[in-house]
Subunit: 462 residues, 2 copies
Amino acid sequence: MPVDVVARLRSLLGDRVDTSPAALDAARADKSGHAAAGRPLAVVHASGVDDVQATLKIATETGTPVVTRGAGTGLAGGSIAGPGEIALSVRRMDRILEVRPDDLIAVVEPGIINADLNAALAEHGLWWAPDPASRDIATVGGNIATGAGGLLCAKYGVVRDAVLGVDLVLADGRLMRLGHRTVKGVTGLDLTSLVIGSEGTLGVVVGATLKLRRLVPGAVCTVAVTFPDVRSAAAASAAVTASGVQPSIMELVDAAALAAIHDLLGLDAPTPGAAQLTIQTDGPAAAGDADAIAEVLRGAGGTVAVSHDREEGERLLAIRRSMHPAIERLGTTLIEDVSVPRSALPDMFDEIARVEREHGIVIPTVAHAGDGNLHPNFVFDASESEGDGIAAVPPHIWDAADDLFRAALRLGGTLTGEHGIGVLKRRWLVDELGEDQWELQRRITRVFDPQGILNPGKVFTP
Amino acid sequence: MPVDVVARLRSLLGDRVDTSPAALDAARADKSGHAAAGRPLAVVHASGVDDVQATLKIATETGTPVVTRGAGTGLAGGSIAGPGEIALSVRRMDRILEVRPDDLIAVVEPGIINADLNAALAEHGLWWAPDPASRDIATVGGNIATGAGGLLCAKYGVVRDAVLGVDLVLADGRLMRLGHRTVKGVTGLDLTSLVIGSEGTLGVVVGATLKLRRLVPGAVCTVAVTFPDVRSAAAASAAVTASGVQPSIMELVDAAALAAIHDLLGLDAPTPGAAQLTIQTDGPAAAGDADAIAEVLRGAGGTVAVSHDREEGERLLAIRRSMHPAIERLGTTLIEDVSVPRSALPDMFDEIARVEREHGIVIPTVAHAGDGNLHPNFVFDASESEGDGIAAVPPHIWDAADDLFRAALRLGGTLTGEHGIGVLKRRWLVDELGEDQWELQRRITRVFDPQGILNPGKVFTP
């Protein structure tokens, strides 16, 4: 009875229920390049907590699946909504409710964009550290749903380190206030952490209490380094980590990714085979740290350029931040997101080279080298749909990705460092968790959502 | 059939099953000063994961409750074992299995003492940041079970920030490996965080992958300040936080606590009414930070002494670290552990003064002022036992503690910052969580432990 559901939503929520073809098609997709097999029932543009609660009560009463989304910048298909599902957008809930410079906290709604939040916080001399490459277009709620990472994590932590509490609407519409406004707090189970990275399977995040930092004083220095091959670059980044100097950012771009980015930006083609490291240091010791890092990199055989100019540093980093749009132009992408212990980074690049050889494909790869998180991109032509909610990933691509993921596991790594499981990686979840833990996790989701209406088919494939 | 349980344990575990009166009595108590109403069935001294699994299988088959303990330094009664229960000690599982300076991780067994771990890590130029006042006698497993904090949290984080993975034995004896060896990892639900602070209700932690830091280079500077009254000291600490300079440690001791400590240490009695702040700075900017903090404190009316000598600093801090033994001498204690937003610290001290006045008692209090975590101590004479697993807290003490806790909640605070709920605070848990969240949390524990044999009666009172 899909018609009844939409009518019931409309009767309560009026024109915040959107069934225009454009809105429905937008809700089928995210930034993974994949899309649901068909259109969802409706998009609800929630304007507040009440709207979210009303939507979930109707969903529970009618047994209708709900897929929560923010800005739709996810890279694993976690927020794509298909036939028979309600797409619940919290993008319009984008207010900053409170900023407390003395307590270093902010209370926000989930739809606010990272960059907008940080622009507002800067007036108070504050910032929220999570810094996904998509920070200009991604929402805080999406960051929380995926347990996002980004470029600054090795020094400034991940989302889990930067959220003190979340307000969560359960499947049945009840509102739970989880966590604290205090730095310390161990009252009962840490459900805030459990919600972070749960990809819409436990409830809808309608508010968050964020742990802020003061803006880092001092300069930002940037070290740009070129190596003749990617293994040398990876080994050099591990040497930087081992040296004890802590960069704020250390990004590695391999030759194929670099070529795609240069093409997008209209730059001259890079030296064939060459890989690039872009490293930033910040804080009072930025200049000395940059010099020490440059020394390590020269010793590792790199061609090094150091800049003490913040704007030039941003220009250099813009190359790295252009990776996703550059790869998008090549075709549909299965974006891997493996993370390995930092010392295993060179070995992981060897494994990527092996997979490229053995499977006869090119895998443009970037890495947050400071924390061992790699994004190998499997590019393919997706002209057909599998019909189960994701675009057709050709079998040879699945095979190559499978090979790569297992290599990461062998090196002590994990399937996803920051993008989440969504639909793209659910087939491997059980391989990493084991049957027992997979089942334990699925049963925990059922405590929050007994009917299984929250983002069904994501993360935990039936 | 208690006899059967012990016999079954003995047949598998031999002399690692201890029923000596001394061992049983030790397992009835922890450092809260409270004790179970009677002796447990046995103490199992597990020497490895197999022993833990064997114990839990027998417990599950016989429906016998299991209370896990480490060094027994808990302050909320979370590890005290009583009649009909198995006390499962993991204290002997104290090996460091792996240290990886290049990846900044260590893999350890749960029974290792914080101080022993850090002594071993120092040889690699590393440390594990959690720093409870009990660091010389507390175990890493106990730190994880309680979600411990300590003195360094405002700058270096709490246990949740310093654990990447835990190995957990479930109630039925199955071993789960939760979490990662990588800095980033969002594969499925974050069960590692859920286990941190779960006080033995979800399983038995038999191993942990810890996130390490490099030893902080540079000097440690100490600022010792006296204020005529505790509110001035609290306001000054909030001013330090608001100034943006980040101390590594900022401890506040009120007049009653200071008098007890001076008495224990054989020092001259302090000025009546005077409260003390002890602040440390570290890292390359330690000296400049200490001077800046001293300036703020002088402006706030404090009598300030600055020391650039590390050993003198340790002597000054030893006063703060002597708080628990000093208070122990006064009687049995109900140790509160409220945490409030840092800006609310002066108001919280006003509330403590009000509770002292209205209830006609003295509440010696110390605070981790850098993160808003207070330990008001309700001291009383416990010559009788209630018979439900804790020593008799007189009704007028419960009333005063209740008053205090509600004041903390009104100020945006929480019941426990770092000690946990255990038995001492379970009566308030529902007040903070609300009925709905309390029930949700209890149901999550049942996913891990369907029979409810893991630390029953702790945290969640039936």
